[in-house]
């Protein structure tokens, strides 16, 4: 596990967890065919929370956060996002997806569009924002992730770290209220990990509700207000970061932490 040091001072003034519920998952189960990937998941995410999800490979972390914007369908239980329940109703799904941003491990930028077009596509076609306005918003977020000068290039011309920052900007252009990250740094070289983490920290500082699947424990300690440990499709332990790292309760968690931190 790489562990990028978080050197900067973190501004916590805006990081406030409110009472408002952003995501409510109750008794959720999912199967792939006969394989029971997610078992009795119960969790509540309040607005403003920064949650890090970790766990061994194949434990169902990706599947869990992909259920939240219905990239995967759950078979039992209930998922409510921003007051909208995810059912097979397409209108609800589209509503949730336009409220929830997602960043993938492999960026998934659209290679046939420029960086700017990548960022304006969804605002123009989903939100019906006028093109000019969408471009202004896109440039705003590209400046924020510190690559406005790349706006007219194609994704193939950018480094991995730059591409991932574009992917974050692309999600932000939809003005999402919740951001999901699925191992956003695990396809990157160490020096690029830092630039992406910095972007994510800034996002957290602005009070974004975030769910991150990541093994960057430095990031978890610096930014998260809660760490969730999953194994075999279940939530095994969750706690605030300090307690979670210094004083893990379950044996599985201890084993996992010793493997990724102990070297």
């Amino acid at each position: 596990m790489s562990e990028a040091a978080i050197e900067r001072q973190i501004d916590r003034s805006q990081m406030q967890v409110t009472d408002e519920v952003a995501i409510q998952i109750s008794d959720m189960n999912k199967w792939y065919g006969t394989f029971h990937v997610l078992r009795d998941i119960n969790m509540t995410v309040n607005r403003g929370e920064r949650i890090v999800i970790c766990g061994p490979s194949g434990s169902g972390k990706s599947t869990l956060i992909r259920c939240i914007n219905r990239l995967e369908e759950h078979q039992a239980g209930k998922i409510v996002v921003d007051g909208t329940e995810l059912t097979s109703d397409l209108k609800n799904i589209d509503k949730v997806r336009s409220e929830v941003g997602m960043v993938f491990q492999h960026f998934n930028l659209f290679p046939h569009l420029t960086i700017l077009e990548n960022c304006t596509l969804a605002p123009i076609w989903v939100r019906k924002t006028p093109k000019k306005e969408a471009e202004e918003v896109a440039m705003h977020y590209l400046r924020k992730v510190k690559i406005p000068e790349q706006a007219l290039k194609y994704p193939g011309q950018l480094s991995g770290g730059q591409q991932q920052r574009v992917a974050i900007a692309r999600s932000l252009c939809m003005k999402p209220r919740i951001m999901l990250f699925d191992e956003p740094t695990s396809a990157l070289d160490p020096e690029m990990i830092k630039e992406v983490l910095d972007t994510m920290i800034e996002l957290a500082e602005e009070g974004m509700t975030m769910l991150c699947v990541t093994h960057e424990m430095g990031f978890a300690q610096a930014v998260a207000n809660r760490v969730i440990f999953m194994d075999q499709g279940q939530i095994v332990e969750q706690n605030e970061p300090k307690e979670f790292f210094n004083n893990p309760k379950s044996d599985r968690t201890k084993l996992f932490l010793s493997q990724i931190l102990g070297h």
Partner: protein
């Protein structure tokens, strides 16, 4: 100077060297020859063999071209002029080129297919080249009806009413849209087809009775030559791409019925030789149509050729779709794009780009396959070459006619191939 140089490590250059020309073996033609033709023993042998076979061919075919006779009214006259020497008799092309191009179309109306061809280039411009004015798209949209009217003639109302079918379909689509997108699409398509089958004829007859505007009607038996190849080929190409896209998407659909119908259609059409489809078009299709409709044979052939090419097109595009990483679909979904928007903006532009070589391959195949219509009695260029030979003036002439026909096909197909290469270069954004 020189002793300081050799005795110490320190060194200062006191005079700068001027730029020198590279040795002769490293520049221009000589370098190219050395690298491409004479870079090794095997290469030298191959070069010598290649050059000698080119010389051999030129020596044997050269006289045929050099002695060619352009001014002759018949093969006998040609032979007389040549007086025993080998030589081509291109007189046949000079004498009959109009037939090779227009078939038995009335000469007084040659301007109509010619105008239709020129307007086709105008209509294609906005589709093929991004630089063309966008307003031309409107012209491209009405062009099919206009070309139909120019070629077949008759009342102007028929193509207008037929085009109105699209408006009818769109209206039906809008009315049923609140129910579901799929139902609305099906209703829209059905409405258009029903309009064409049952209402277009009567309404246009009525209108032309009331307001007769039109040009001389020309029956499709008099169509022939490259005009027929172009009409069938271009229409087939223009229609098979969208139908192929729909079939490819249908084949990937989650909906069982749509998937089954698409797979069944593709497998059936691909499993049958085109020639059987053409015979079906010429003999059987009338049984399936409402009695009394006299459905033009060329239109029937166009339908069959289009269906045939669509099945291949669908598979080519499916290949492109399969080559796209899943992440592209997921990113589109995650951004909230619905199925059709994701297809139109993200998936298809990439899948089609990947499939360009295969698509153009199918286009070229389709265009050359139009020569098969000779078997159902349509006089395409090959059919006309037979007709020309049937005349006692030109009985026995083969090479010149086939050479000319081959050359024309080659120009068309090579043009398509070059265009596809241009397009691939233009769309290249991966910078690998």
């Amino acid at each position: 100077m020189s002793d300081t140089h050799s005795n110490t490590v320190a060194y200062v250059r006191d005079s700068m060297l001027p730029e020198a020309t590279p040795p002769l073996t490293e520049v221009g033609a000589i370098r190219w020859l050395r690298e491409n033709l004479f870079s090794g023993v095997l290469n030298i042998i191959l070069t010598v063999l290649g050059i000698s076979s080119v010389i051999w061919i030129v020596l044997h075919i050269g006289p045929w071209f050099l002695n060619a006779v352009w001014n002759a009214e018949s093969l006998a006259e040609c032979r007389q002029i040549l007086d025993g020497a080998t030589g081509a008799c291109f007189g046949v092309i000079k004498d009959r080129w109009h037939q090779l191009i227009f078939g038995f179309y009335p000469p007084s109306a040659y301007w109509r297919p010619t105008l239709a061809f020129v307007l086709m280039l105008v209509a294609l411009a906005p589709i093929l080249f991004a630089g063309a004015p966008r307003k031309l798209f409107w012209f491209s949209a009405i062009y099919p009806a206009l070309a139909f009217w120019l070629l077949w003639g008759g009342t102007i109302w028929f193509p207008i009413i037929a085009m109105a079918g699209f408006a009818v379909g769109y209206l039906a689509y809008r009315v049923t849209l609140p129910l579901s997108t799929l139902a609305a699409t099906i209703v829209g398509v059905l409405a258009t087809i029903l309009w064409w089958l049952y209402l277009t004829g009567p309404i246009s007859n009525m209108l032309s009775g009331a307001l007769p505007i039109g040009i001389m009607p020309i029956r499709s038996d008099s169509f022939g030559g490259f005009m027929v190849s172009t009409v069938i080929g271009v229409t087939g190409i223009a229609l098979s791409l969208p139908i192929g896209i729909v079939l490819a998407l249908g084949r990937q659909s989650d909906m069982f019925l749509i998937k089954t119908v698409s797979v069944g259609f593709i497998e059936f059409i691909r499993g049958v030789p085109l020639i059987t489809l053409l015979f079906t078009a010429s003999l059987l299709l009338n049984y399936f149509l409402p009695p009394g409709t006299n459905f033009d044979i060329i239109l029937r052939v166009i339908i069959m050729v289009t269906l045939f090419a669509s099945a291949y097109m669908a598979e080519v595009i499916r290949g492109g779709l399969a080559a796209l990483p899943r992440g592209q679909y997921e990113a589109a979904d995650a951004l909230g794009l619905d199925y059709w928007k994701a297809q139109r903006l993200i998936i298809m532009p990439q899948a089609l780009k990947i499939s360009i070589p295969g698509i153009v391959n199918t286009f070229i195949g389709l265009f050359k396959d139009t020569t098969l219509v000779v078997f159902i009695g349509i006089l395409d260029p090959i059919g006309l070459s037979n007709a020309i030979r049937a005349d006692s003036d030109w009985n026995g002439i083969y090479w010149e006619l086939f050479g000319f026909i081959g050359l024309c096909f080659f120009i068309f197909c090579f043009g398509m191939s070059r265009y596809s290469q241009y397009l691939e270069r233009k769309l290249k954004t991966d910078h690998r």
